[in-house]
Symmetry: C2
């Protein structure tokens, strides 16, 4: 398998995207920890940030293992990922909590879907960074309490969560148009790996099914937060 | 040993100070990672930040083990530690590297000195957070290269490092005047723990010797960076 092989290119791209996503998630969560009105909340977001950094390190190591230069692999994704964060800057503590939760779980769902198309070793790396960071209970508790105290908060936060989802889709679109091997991998054009190392064709309806799964999971989490999707 | 026992109070104070120091070191390093001109540098500072968070978690767990409320234990140190960071905001990447290195190693030296006065279990916790974060080689290499490229940089960075040391001493003074049990512990007034659980008197000359050791180690690191102490 040479560098030019579309599957190898797509794997490096995917790992580069995941790595840069984790590194910037670290940065944003660490910065947002400063918005916390309490030391407990600050420690909670800081803990999520530290976990993201651990994920980044795992993925970076896999890139190096595959002979890729991690910085080069991440580079094509700096612009869209930075734009995502630029357009979703929380203006307060509750917005930062919703972003941490919605953003991270969306990313995890996407990683889970993408991992299915990878060779077993890279799949194991991507699945390893899916570990639950334990933030759900903390975020859900805080957001629901804030809505109970002031029901108007729910409408504002629902708009905010929709903006995060919309911006994620916009930037995903940008990535897909510029990184054709990665896009081909994710829509199943490169096939699904089989235990014998061959790749079997993917049902064309699978792309739509994947979007449905991502949307349904997002909707469920919005409901959990007490927000309309 | 009740809460009122000066040694128990001093231990909680010391752990609270260390915990808040680690949490804010995490925050500042994570923020300073954004000053890096390269992804490698960003990852390096982010890694240091994540390590600081790991230390914070260890110390917080020890506070809880001792029956202290971690947030309450940290609270008295928010003002001086925040003031330290407020007065030492790096204005660029090189300043952030020097602060990361000088600030962290000063803190580590202080922890090592303070640990000697603690009961074995708390001492083990404080010593565990002394692990080398491996930043020395990265920082020293970058700072020396910058000085080689433009020797004028050395004077500016030496002033900067002196400001960090001066600010650390200023805030340490504030802490000492407000937290008398902690100050008594650190100057040896509460004695040194013996294997049988008793405490033996400390030579009064020990305080001066401790300051001499801290200053000498700082001077050595300045020289390593290519800076005049």
């Amino acid at each position: 398998m040479t560098e030019r092989d579309p599957h190898a290119t797509a794997v490096i791209d995917l790992l580069g995207l995941v790595a840069y996503g984790e590194l910037t998630a670290f940065e944003r969560l660490a910065a947002d920890a400063g918005l916390s009105p309490t030391l407990d909340g600050k420690a909670e977001l800081a803990g999520m940030a530290a976990a993201e950094f651990g994920h980044f390190r795992t993925v970076r190591a896999r890139l190096a293992e595959l002979g890729a230069e991690p910085t080069e692999a991440m580079d094509p994704f700096r612009e869209p990922v930075d734009a995502f964060h630029e357009h979703t800057r929380p203006s307060g503590w509750l917005e930062s909590l919703v972003k941490a939760y919605i953003g991270d779980t969306l990313a995890a769902d996407f990683h889970r879907e993408a991992a299915r198309f990878l060779d077993p070793d890279s799949r194991a790396v991507v699945e390893a960074v899916l570990q639950d960071m334990g933030q759900a209970a903390f975020v859900v508790g805080h957001v629901r309490a804030a809505i109970a105290a002031d029901p108007k908060v729910a409408g504002r936060l629902a708009l905010w969560a929709r903006r995060i989802m919309g911006e994620a889709l916009t930037q995903a679109q940008h990535v897909a148009t510029r990184r054709s091997a990665l896009a081909a991998l994710l829509i199943g054009e490169l096939g699904m790996p089989e235990p014998d190392g061959s790749r079997s064709p993917v049902d064309p309806g699978e792309v739509g099914a994947m979007f449905d799964r991502l949307t349904a999971a997002h909707g469920k989490r919005m409901a959990q937060l007490g927000l309309n999707a």
